[in-house]
């Protein structure tokens, strides 16, 4: 593995959805997640992590050292015989076993190196804390959720066909958000990167994934989702040079015009950087 990264990063990712459901709520029959108190849309941290994993799996083909541990079934991967690797883990003393297993897992799997893992090795579930920490994304403005009834000109079973005397129709439902611009905050800790061996190549791959993850995640449910902006604050030091909330406050998002009509496009928003970037912090606009 290459050298692990030596800088702290804080980032702001802006992505939007048009006529789609960015993240369904299992508690509400797959309606788009909405914060009931404010009406703002939500996208959970794990939703975006899944997309990052899928993107990396697609780009790198699930090969060591960029294999993905938590997989979706959609991609069949060729299992590589890792028996000799396993032997190296097995042959170790009990105390070293955990450490060895951890190192092996970190070196092979991108998602473990990046997001961490709870492992069943050693005494009891050794934990790996990954350097990358994502928060819930929230929409800038309130979102409305639309419900569309749709029909299918076919039925699933004989019984249904008989019941309808051969009419063969099924009604379905689909939920969308007409438009929502979402903001996600993320953090990357250099000291934790050292613990998992998260290096520059991994970091570049992560930025790539954040920029392009929606391009390969199109589906009937998602509508049109795009990563719009990625502001990366690169600190000079490993512990950082400024409080993250101060950096995030620099990224201002305002409605263009008088804001009388609800937003329906990224063009309806203006993204501005306001204020001084503190010393020792460099802003990189990745997107």
């Amino acid at each position: 593995m290459s050298q692990s990264i030596n800088n702290r990063y804080d980032f702001v990712l802006l992505f939007d959805v048009k006529d789609g459901n960015p993240n369904g709520d299992p508690d509400a029959g797959n309606l788009p997640r909405v914060d009931p108190e404010t009406g703002n849309g939500l996208v959970t941290d794990v939703c975006l992590k899944r997309k990052v994993r899928n993107y990396v799996q697609m780009v790198k083909g699930a090969k060591d050292p960029f294999d993905i541990f938590i997989k979706e079934k959609a991609i069949l991967n060729n299992l590589i015989d890792e028996a000799h690797e396993q032997e190296s883990v097995k042959s170790k003393e009990k105390g070293d076993k955990t450490e060895h297993a951890r190192q092996y897992m970190c070196s092979r799997y991108f998602d473990i190196r990046t997001f961490g893992a709870v492992m069943s090795t050693g005494k009891n579930a050794g934990q790996v804390r990954g350097p990358v920490q994502l928060t819930f994304s929230r929409s800038i403005d309130q979102v409305v959720t639309l419900e569309h009834s749709i029909t299918r000109m076919a039925v699933a079973t004989e019984a249904e066909a008989e019941k309808q005397q051969g009419d063969n129709r099924t009604m379905g439902r689909k939920f969308t958000v007409p438009y929502g611009l979402y903001r996600c905050h993320g953090f990357i800790s250099a000291p934790l990167a050292r613990q998992t061996g998260f290096g520059q190549e991994d970091l570049d791959l992560l930025w790539d994934a954040l920029k392009n993850m929606f391009e390969h995640d199109h589906s009937a449910a998602r509508g049109h989702m795009v990563s719009r902006k990625l502001f990366v604050f690169r600190h000079a030091g490993e512990f950082g040079n400024a409080p993250s909330h101060k950096l995030f406050e620099l990224v201002k998002i305002a409605r263009k015009g008088d804001g009388k009509l609800p937003p329906r496009d990224f063009e309806d928003y203006e993204v501005k950087l306001e204020g001084e970037i503190p010393g020792g912090v460099e802003l990189v606009e990745m997107l």
Binding site: K71, S120, Q127, Q133, F187, L192, G240, P243
Partner: protein, 227 residues
């Protein structure tokens, strides 16, 4: 823990975030948060900013600055541990949908001091660590971004200086029953702060009531702490 241990003056750290989940140990499957931040979570926040084997954080009190509000979120989670002997986990086979009762819009002030542990060497002294912490917290530096119970609920933090006015806590005094004090770790396996809880680790609790928004934390080892 006796009273003669040298310790620093208490620091005051304001922490806040959009969500928090200080999970009750008895309701871990579908997480339900305590109403307030636990001393152990507060310690975790401080350790995310500065920790060395030579020092120990002791939380003295936690001020609750915002009214206690709730939100429920259900997510797909994986119900398996990772093992080097497996080729990966297919999420469809190991999916669990879990709801979480989270706190929202929280803000606290943690009052805590530093003590030296028996792992402190001759070159370690409290003043050094005190200055280190003040420098780090003042500049927003951290080992990793602190969080409020779970890593997805990151915490923003700000040091409140000695002469600064702190925001006042809410004027509420609910009975909160038993609150997790901390996990008493069996440190024999604790190499370099990478800890795996084993049978030697136990949770300790204390009875708590907010006193006009202030949660007083008993000293470790005092009789208020129920082991």
């Amino acid at each position: 823990m006796n009273q003669t241990v040298p310790k620093t003056k208490p620091f005051r750290l304001k922490v806040w975030g959009e969500n928090a989940c200080f999970t009750r140990p008895e309701l871990k499957v579908e997480r339900v948060s305590y109403d307030v931040m636990t001393p152990s979570a507060a310690r975790g926040v401080l350790e995310a900013i500065l920790w060395k084997p030579a020092i120990r954080w002791v939380v003295e009190r936690i001020d609750v600055l915002n009214p206690i509000r709730w939100e429920s979120v259900r997510r797909n989670e994986v119900g398996q541990l990772m093992s080097p002997r497996s080729e990966g986990v297919y999420i469809e086979d190991a999916r669990q949908q879990k709801a979480g009762m989270l706190l929202r819009e929280v803000a606290y002030i943690i009052h805590a001091h530093l003590e030296l542990t028996d792992r402190a060497g001759p070159q370690d002294n409290l003043v050094k660590f005190q200055e280190m912490f003040l420098r780090r917290a003042g500049a927003g530096q951290c080992f990793n971004q602190p969080y409020l119970g779970c890593r997805e609920f990151s915490a923003h933090f700000e040091l409140i200086g000695q002469n600064e006015e702190a925001p006042s806590p809410i004027d509420e005094s609910p009975e909160l029953g038993l609150l997790l004090f901390d996990i008493v770790h069996d440190a024999s396996s604790d190499k370099d702060h990478v800890h795996h809880c084993g049978p030697g680790c136990r949770a300790s609790f204390f009875r708590v009531k907010l006193e006009r928004g202030v949660l007083w934390v008993p000293l470790p080892g005092s009789k208020e702490v129920l082991q």
